[in-house]
């Protein structure tokens, strides 16, 4: 652990803040200064180990911190000043809350003597962020800073991770106190249940050992537990087909024979059909989100459900399992392995081949062989050229579904997106944060023409920080996902979804980012090759078919059995 201060040394609160960050292993901070946090920026001067990235909007700081956290597994850190700076973080905090991403947001607050007076740039951040944080703090005394930081960093990653906000009044930053750093989180640690009991393991094993058509649905929790191999060992031991939720993508390599796709509204055929037939469904590190289950009463009707999750409140929240086990995905699966008998499931697995073929015939082939450039082709081409090993940070909308469906992830933890909140504009700053957190990765940001204009200003940050991200802009000149709904469910009334976009090439030129435009597959191939060879950030604008639709799709309010595989079936 790097340190600069000695215990007992008398320093300003701002310096204690920096020291705490250093001791927490922080290497990058995404932030924006202002009147209420200027002392922290002054102290930062003494801490060259803490690389500060000056974003262009605080929302970008929060998403960048998420990207950083995703690749490093450590809390991402962002700074903002009081009032508007702090409120600008809210979307990012809400995003991190729903997707269980550990971030620690540090906001300046007006001096404690002015709290509650509606002072200049005062916003009640404790109140504002209560619903979108795992926990939050208001620090008004310098001597409280160190213990709050220790607890906040612990909470952000422990159990089910999430965002923590520390609001610090300006006087607490400026006043002096003796530096005292104690990691004292035993009481919080003791509350966590991380492993399964013998009885629980025996019960899980009993259900699985006697299953005829078992199915695994694994989610983000498995990635967060830091291990996809154990999950795969469990699957392999009993030949259990594995499906991965959107946030669980890349937990196991997609070219593995037991990988059966992603369930959900725009998921794969096999992954949505299998829950209808399975007799034992092993759900790990997932929360039966409505986008995954569709109508819960019609989900997995024959199945005994085993639900393993680290968050006790998720067990029985959306679906009541036959057996709920609270624990860390990796640890529980490791414990479970010796209890499982070796099994084969040739007949059951054959069904998946049929379902996979159906999707290939009705969807994949059409998409990938279209004469007009399609988003699926672009993602497929990026996948091919990067050997399925790049990190994809996907935005929201149709482009997100194509990124999820067509990349065929093989590298562990290589897919990142805004799943729970569905925040357009997320990918640009999050991709930047991911690249800064792990520069060895090849990071591709996939994003739509709508989304990129929500956080466009971060292109300047990317240039200033020389962040080597590649940006695949899938331009359909539409808010495509909304347009698709209007086409299919609102009589084709395209209400406010058409975008008259700026000239993205000129924009890139203005920002100082190299770019190319690709209008067909040949140009797309070339452009991807050039982008990969070019040092520094690069943007490719792919002009994709304007009115393409993502299929399969499960209509809102329907059960998974009502999946529509192709547009023809909808008529």
């Amino acid at each position: 652990m790097k340190t600069r201060l000695k215990t007992g040394q008398k320093v300003q609160g701002a310096e204690i803040i920096c020291e705490c960050l250093l001791r927490a292993g922080v290497t990058a901070i995404f932030g924006y200064p202002g009147g209420a946090n200027i002392p922290i920026y002054d102290a930062l001067y003494k801490y060259p180990e803490l690389r500060h990235v000056l974003v262009r909007h605080e929302q970008g700081a929060a998403h960048a911190a998420e990207g950083y956290a995703w690749v490093t597994g450590r809390p991402g850190v962002c700074f903002a000043t009081s009032g508007p700076g702090a409120t600008n973080l809210v979307t990012g905090l809400a995003d991190a809350m729903l997707d269980s991403i550990p971030i620690v947001a540090i906001t300046g607050q007006v001096p404690s003597s002015l709290l509650g007076t509606d002072a200049f740039q005062e916003a009640d951040m404790l109140g504002v962020t209560l619903p979108v944080t795992k926990h939050n703090y208001l620090v008004t005394k310098t001597e409280d800073i160190a213990s709050v930081f220790s607890e906040a960093f612990f909470l952000a990653v422990s159990g089910r991770p999430g965002p923590v906000l520390i609001d610090i009044t300006k006087d607490a930053q400026v006043n002096y106190a003796q530096f005292q750093y104690k990691e004292n989180n035993e009481h919080l640690k003791n509350r966590l249940k991380l492993t399964a009991t013998k009885e629980e393991l025996a019960e899980i094993a009993d259900l699985l050992n006697n299953a005829e058509r078992p199915l695994i649905v694994a989610g983000h929790g498995v990635l967060l537990s830091g291990d996809g191999k154990t999950l795969l060992s469990v699957a392999e031991k009993q030949d259990i087909p594995v499906t991965l939720t959107q946030l669980g993508l890349s937990t196991i390599p997609q070219n593995h024979p037991l990988y059966m796709g992603m369930p959900g509204m725009h998921g794969n055929v096999a992954a949505n059909r299998a829950p209808l037939e399975t007799d034992v469904l092993l759900a790990v590190g997932m929360r039966f989100h409505d986008r995954v289950t569709s109508k819960t009463s019609l989900y997995a009707p024959q199945a005994k459900i085993i639900h393993i999750d680290i968050d006790p409140s998720e067990i029985g929240k959306n679906i009541m399992p036959a057996l709920g086990v609270v624990g860390d995905a990796k640890l529980v699966l490791k414990q479970l392995l010796p209890f499982l008998q070796q099994k084969k499931n040739p007949l059951w697995l054959k069904k998946f081949e049929v379902w996979k073929k159906e999707e290939k015939d009705k969807v994949f082939t059409k998409e990938l062989e279209s004469p007009k450039l399609k988003s699926a082709q672009v993602i497929n081409e990026i996948a091919r050229q990067t050997d399925f090993e790049a990190t994809i940070v996907a935005d929201v909308g149709q482009n997100q579904m194509y990124a999820a469906r067509y990349y065929q992830y093989r590298k562990y933890n290589s897919h990142f997106t805004s799943g729970g909140l569905g925040t357009m504009g997320f990918a640009l700053p999050a991709g930047m944060g991911a690249k800064l957190g792990d520069p060895a990765r090849e990071v591709w940001i996939t994003i739509g023409d709508g989304g990129i204009q929500m956080t466009l200003q971060e292109l300047a940050t990317i240039v200033q920080e020389k962040t080597e991200v590649k940006i695949a802009l899938l331009n359909n000149n539409y808010l495509g996902m909304v347009r698709q709904w209007q086409e299919l469910f609102y009589k084709g009334n395209y209400s406010e979804v058409q975008l008259k976009n700026p000239d993205f090439q000129k924009l890139c030129e203005g920002f100082g980012i190299k770019s190319l435009k690709a209008k067909n597959l040949r140009q797309a191939r070339e452009a991807i090759g050039i982008a990969r060879k070019t040092r520094g950030p690069f943007l490719i604008e792919f002009v994709v078919q304007a009115e393409e639709n993502v299929f399969p799709m499960i209509p809102a309010g329907a059960g998974i059995g009502e999946m529509v595989v192709s547009k023809e079936e909808l008529k």
């Binding site: 404790l126 109140g127 209560l130 619903p131 795992k134 926990h135 208001l138 909470l155 919080l188 968050d311 006790p312 409140s313 067990i315 029985g316 929240k317 009541m320």
Partner: protein, 160 residues
């Protein structure tokens, strides 16, 4: 929300904002709070809350799990009324016209084992404790008089 009236008992750190966090969570999960009492517990620094809400068993169980996630909450339980001793405190101020009325009021107070805790020239303040039914009945009986103010605390409870 439908379902039966349920008791949720919560022990939490006595720190600024903790009550707010708890109440907010009930709202977030779409419960209407019927009553809430809070005060110090036997452990210094720990407050004890008794909150009653309507809900089905499953909803209440899930709510308790949500409450337990709050960092400042030390413990939370939902308990059937049979497992608890439940009490409410009610205070009532009534107008008193004459001596006859006063003695009538005192008779009611006596019946409900209440106490007169303040006696002014034209009014009385009465204290009554008991379960909800008893307080309800007391209130009904007092309707014959001129009630000036009435307040009840809502349930507070200990384990049997």
């Amino acid at each position: 929300m439908s379902g039966e009236l349920s008791n949720i008992i919560i022990w939490a750190e006595n720190k600024p904002g903790v009550f707010f966090r708890i109440l907010w969570l009930f709202r977030r999960k779409q419960f209407n709070i019927e009553s809430a009492t809070v005060g110090h517990s036997e452990t210094p620094g720990i407050s004890r809350f008794t909150i009653t809400v309507y809900g089905h068993h499953e909803q209440i169980t899930n709510m308790v799990k949500q409450v337990r996630k709050l960092v400042n909450v030390v413990k939370a339980e939902s308990l059937q009324s049979e497992m608890l001793v439940l009490r409410e405190l009610a205070l009532m101020k009534v107008a008193v016209k004459n001596v006859r009325e006063k003695s009538n009021i005192l008779r009611v107070i006596e019946h409900f084992r209440g106490r007169c805790i303040n006696m002014a020239k034209n009014s009385l303040i009465i204290e009554v404790t008991g379960d909800e039914n008893k307080i309800d009945a007391f209130y009904e009986n007092m309707k014959d008089f001129v009630m000036l103010e009435f307040v009840r605390t809502g349930r507070t409870a200990l384990f049997k």
